[in-house]
């Protein structure tokens, strides 16, 4: 199973993603942002970092890079695409996911472990999870406050497209568990078909016990299990 990891100038979680994909038995390959073709791959990851120095708006310039045309086509065909942190910002800027990520309400860069509750298991990256399962993963961002206007948010709720919400270690949705002021405590959302997923926390930084949590592996394991036929395809 081949997973393309797109590298932009300023990506800095690309090797972490590579390592996490290897840990679950996948075959990661790097694809440069200037490429116009993904080649034959089974999934795409847009890693975290500060692509183009976050100039203009976080993810704005990367979302217009040449490779994004191929990513868009891959997503349109139902290919699994995961955007992590800056990758989530890029997917929103590209219009592949609704909404936008704004400056944290606190105006501070938040860098600490947090908890998210799995709200939807019908995605390629949560298929192996239990509904309501709590995952511990770190956040590391200055612009992670998810925003969508009321109509968009109502639609996301109605269609079950909120994939992760910030929560307490016990899985309760509380204001103090929300690190950035995201509307409706949203930590991650998916596309209409469910195959494109973006989230602010870093699953690849929670991929080994020595890092404090292995919970992030659930996302990578879901993908591999689904693609290798060990899980039923529901998204």
């Amino acid at each position: 199973m081949k997973v393309a990891i797109i590298t932009f100038p300023g990506s800095n979680c690309d090797y972490d993603c590579w390592h996490a994909v290897r840990l679950v038995g996948g075959e990661p390959i790097y694809v440069d942002h200037r490429a116009t073709d993904l080649g034959r791959v089974d999934a795409v990851i847009l890693p975290g970092g500060f692509s183009y120095g976050d100039y203009l708006r976080a993810g704005a310039i990367a979302s217009r890079a040449p490779i994004m045309r191929a990513v868009r086509a891959f997503a349109a065909e139902g290919g699994p695409v995961l955007g992590i942190c800056n990758g989530f910002q890029i997917l929103c800027e590209a219009g592949l996911l609704p909404g936008a990520l704004l400056r944290n309400r606190s105006l501070r860069f938040r860098c600490h472990p947090c908890y998210v509750r799995v709200e939807r298991t019908a995605t390629p990256f949560t298929a192996a999870c239990r509904p309501g399962q709590v995952l511990q993963m770190p956040v590391a961002h200055g612009e992670g406050r998810y925003y969508a206007d009321e109509a968009t948010l109502a639609r996301l709720e109605a269609e079950g497209r909120i994939v992760f919400r910030y929560c307490t270690p016990g899985g309760e949705i509380r204001e103090e568990a929300n690190p950035n002021g995201s509307v409706a405590h949203v930590a991650g959302v998916c596309s209409e078909a469910g195959n494109v997923v973006g989230l602010m926390p870093h699953p690849e930084r929670a991929a080994e016990a020595v890092l404090g949590s292995e919970d992030g592996l659930w996302l990578f394991r879901s993908l591999v299990d689904l693609l290798e036929g060990r899980l039923a395809r529901s998204a």
């Binding site: 310039i61 929103c92 800027e93 936008a100 400056r103 105006l107």
Partner: protein, 89 residues
């Protein structure tokens, strides 16, 4: 013809603007108690060539829609003016 476009970008008014709030708080701290609101945005200056004023207006609007502003979170205003042509002789 050469044109100069000033693109003023501000967060949409319904959005929480923590930067604006922080600056407002600092101004109050300095004694500027009359300050009722502060909004922090971005100013871009783009110089470019276009065959006419109308074409320049259309071009800069396309730039804003495709890259410079994000309509989900931002409003923008364009101030467009022709650049003074060099005087011959």
């Amino acid at each position: 013809m050469e044109f100069r476009a000033e693109i003023r970008i501000l967060p949409r008014p319904e959005l929480l603007d923590p930067q604006g709030k922080a600056v407002e708080g600092a101004l109050h701290g300095l004694g500027f108690h009359a300050v009722r609101a502060v909004h922090v945005g971005r100013l871009l200056v783009v110089e470019f060539a276009a065959p006419s004023f109308e074409a320049a207006r259309a071009e800069v609007d396309a730039m804003c829609r495709q890259l410079l502003a994000n309509p989900v979170i931002e409003n923008y205003v364009v101030v467009l003016e022709p650049l003074a042509q060099p005087v011959e002789g």
